[in-house]
């Protein structure tokens, strides 16, 4: 029994699929930061299997972005550059990507796990009848032994994503190609730019089809950028529901907790010249507390459904550390957890544990840091 009842390709067919593709997004003629991260993710895998990273892009007026893709680590760029493809719409983009895949047969195809990537990649994967692992935080290459057919699939992509319970799970797509995965922003560092680095630019020239225009764009408007830049902060001070009471169990206004955090942030910004932002857990944001209205907003959310951050220093104040929160900050270089509950799961991953009342500790920290010159 080779494949038996299981769908998929033969080992011979699998071996024909080369190259790691990354679907990159262009904004104002430049690659977005998550796109640069995606090239780095592709690079990691391509180096392991000794194949090329191919940046795939669809849009209009892509010359500069193509150049950038090479400088940030792509070996080749496959692109469709047409006026009628200026804006993203699922149907034409799906059709073109599927045609590209059928022609060039990539080993893996990576997308960014944002609203565009989550709109596009499922459709592409279904049409190609292949697997899609969503929301990955890391990728590896492993040999995968598939028990039911007693087959070892060499060099299979291990797609690492937060699991629904308390863990991280590896997802494999051993029998199908391409192995499609979406990567959460914030988990790979863009490669250093190498000015003048070039590669093979392959222009793909699709012919428009009627189906491309089923959905029409009435208008597009830029969203004003949030002034809160969690992803680029060097220090993130995050608040959880623990700010609602102190060490004596007395209720505290969450506003008080917020203001202490802001005071600490100000010192770190002004005295230490650091980029500091205040984050929060989903639980705190969705508690919709009056005292925090308009201050602790959704653009501050760290975690699985919010932002993924990896700052130098992550200070978790009154955060218990549910897995959904942890996957959004676990890559921080130094994690400081302040929590009254010595059994809080956040302590499992903290480099520095302060098992104490944040309302006692924060003023001390503020005093110490502002007391020095």
């Amino acid at each position: 029994m080779s494949q038996g009842q299981f769908s998929g390709l033969s080992l011979e067919e699998l071996s024909q699929y080369k190259d790691v593709w990354v679907y990159v997004v262009v904004d104002d003629g430049k690659l977005t930061k998550p796109s640069l991260e995606l090239i780095a993710a592709g690079r990691k895998i391509a180096d392991k299997i000794q194949q090329r990273v191919v940046a795939v892009m669809i849009g209009y007026q892509l010359d500069n972005a193509v150049k950038e893709a090479f400088e940030y680590g792509a070996d080749a760029v496959l692109y469709a550059d047409e006026p009628w493809l200026k804006s993203y719409i699922c149907l034409p983009y799906t059709r073109i990507l599927v045609e590209m895949v059928k022609q060039y047969k990539p080993y893996a195809f990576l997308f960014i796990a944002d609203e565009l990537g989550r709109d596009l990649s499922p459709r592409v994967a279904y049409r190609l009848k292949t697997g899609l692992a969503t929301d990955n935080i890391d990728l590896e290459v492993e040999d995968y032994f598939f028990g039911p057919t007693r087959t070892t699939y060499k060099n299979t992509l291990a797609q690492i994503r937060p699991d629904f319970a308390t863990r991280i799970a590896k997802i494999y797509t051993p029998r199908h190609r391409p192995q499609i995965a979406s990567i959460r922003p914030g988990n790979f560092n863009p490669l250093p730019r190498q000015p003048g680095r070039r590669g093979e630019a392959i222009r793909f020239t699709p012919t428009p089809a009627d189906e491309d225009f089923i959905i029409q764009i009435i208008e597009e408007e830029k969203v004003p950028k949030s002034p809160i830049d969690l992803e680029n902060a060097q220090v993130v001070i995050s608040l959880g529901l623990g700010i609602l009471r102190d060490g004596e169990g007395r209720p505290r206004s969450p506003r008080e907790g917020y203001e202490l955090a802001e005071k600490l942030a100000t010192i770190l910004r002004e005295k230490y010249g650091l980029r500091v932002e205040i984050g929060a857990t989903r639980a705190l944001i969705y508690a919709e507390l009056k005292e925090l209205e308009g201050i602790v907003t959704k653009d501050r959310q760290v975690g699985q459904t919010g932002k993924t951050v990896a700052p130098e220093i992550y200070i978790a104040l009154g955060i218990s550390g549910a897995v959904q929160h942890r996957v959004g900050m676990i890559r921080s270089k130094n994690i400081v957890a302040v929590n009254l509950d010595p059994k809080a799961p956040i302590f499992e991953i903290a480099h520095y544990a302060v098992k104490d009342d944040l309302y006692k500790i924060l003023p001390k920290i503020i005093e110490y840091l502002s007391g020095g010159e």
Partner: protein, 406 residues
């Protein structure tokens, strides 16, 4: 489309990483309430009916679906919502569907939706055949009433409601419209069957993928031989019944797109969606496009009934495999304020009672040293308890110098 998700999230995964759904209490995916609110808006605006479809083990899903009839009541399974419930409930349940990834799930759901469309199309076609083959008005009326009771044809074709005295079949029986006009109206009703809108939550609280919505649009398109467009993460939308289009807003990157989507289509609804109130002028038409009412019994369909290819279902039809899970690891060293012992200064390698120790750096955690040595070093103040000051110096001490240098 709704999904049953675990009410709690511990102790339900097997060693090999498979979710033991049959051993869990399932509740409705919280993101699906937005989908239900959107469906409710659509029914108010254009009539039709809401059919909830879910795939999962029958004994776990049926109680959820049962409570969808009355979402304004307290329920263990469904969050309370100030809306009228769904009209019909269908559960796709089959052992062969177990262990499905998003591809196999979307395939099963597409086959289920296709079956729903077929049943409704067949009902209207049945009447069309009778009218075409010259059946008497009484025969047509009898058949129409039967289909109406089964909730398969809209009020405008046949209804016993006093407010709808002008259903097509009644007008025909009364001699007020010709056979040809009746046929026209039936054909238009048949067309309506294909102008469906599928609504899904933007993702589930367990898998968190958000794949199933867009993939069901793709799967259904394959089964119908006609592309079904989808828009994911819709934050706001409105239907324009005369044009048969939906205008929806969603975000991609730093853009808000306003899109014009013709029916049929599939939308997944963002958690930030708030339903609009349809104009009062839509009401009358909506009523005529409506159906008899709720069918209170949850229907359970298996793979054979929906004509699904078993090789595309469940584990064997799933390209992805979930490997063993791993705990998110502890950091190699953890310093606990007030508990951990650390070196207060750099110490070169030294000998102590025949053993060699070090070198150590300032701030190193004291680990695996003989207790007596630790006591000795503490007395000499070479090691000490890790304090908040230590912590802050470690984190910001270096930064301070950099900041000064600038």
């Amino acid at each position: 489309m709704v999904k049953g998700v675990p009410a709690r999230t511990t102790g339900v995964i097997t060693v090999s990483g498979v979710l033991r759904r049959e051993e869990m209490d399932l509740v409705m995916n919280p993101h699906d309430s937005k989908a239900l609110q959107a469906a409710h808006y659509l029914r108010q605006a254009v009539g039709g009916k809401i059919i909830a479809v879910s795939m999962g083990p029958e004994p776990k899903i049926v109680p959820i679906m049962q409570d969808l009839y009355e979402p304004n009541q307290e329920s263990r399974y469904v969050p309370r919502m100030p809306i009228y419930g769904v009209d019909e409930n269908i559960v796709l349940s089959d052992r062969r569907m177990a262990g499905a990834d998003t591809l196999a799930t979307a395939y099963a759901l597409s086959a289920g939706v296709k079956k729903i469309i077929d049943i409704h199309a067949d009902a209207v076609k049945n009447l069309i055949n009778m009218v075409e083959s010259g059946a008497s008005a009484a025969e047509i009326e009898r058949k129409a009433e039967e289909l109406y009771r089964e909730n398969l044809i809209p009020n405008k074709i046949y209804s016993t409601l006093s407010t709808i005295g002008d259903s097509a079949v009644k007008l025909f029986a009364e001699g007020k419209i010709t056979r040809e006009e009746l046929l026209n109206r039936l054909h238009s009703a048949l067309e309506d069957v294909y102008n469906f809108i599928i609504i899904a939550g933007m993702k589930t609280s367990d898998g968190e993928t958000g794949n199933t919505g867009p993939q069901t649009a793709e799967g259904l398109g394959e089964l119908l031989g006609k592309l079904i467009p989808h828009v994911a993460f819709v934050r706001d939308f409105e239907i324009f019944p005369d044009e048969r289009i939906i205008v929806a807003s969603r975000r991609v990157g730093n853009l808000v797109q306003r899109l014009r989507i013709p029916l049929p289509c599939l939308l997944t609804i963002h958690t930030e969606y708030t339903p609009k109130i349809p104009p009062a002028s839509y009401q009358k038409k909506a009523k005529r496009n409506g159906y008899r009412g709720q069918v209170k019994k949850v229907k359970v369909w298996d793979a054979d009934y929906i004509g699904a290819d078993p090789s595309r279902l469940g584990f064997s039809g799933s390209p992805t495999i979930v490997g063993p899970g791993m705990e998110i690891g502890k950091p190699p060293v953890q310093k606990i304020v007030g508990e951990s012992l650390v070196f207060e200064r750099d110490v070169d390698e030294f000998e102590w009672r025949g053993g060699k120790y070090g070198p150590f750096k300032k701030g190193d955690l004291v680990q695996n040293l003989p207790e007596e040595l630790v006591m000795e070093l503490r007395e000499k103040n070479i090691i000490g308890v890790f304090t908040l000051k230590h912590l802050l110096d470690e984190l910001f001490g270096g930064v301070k110098l950099v900041a000064r240098a600038v």
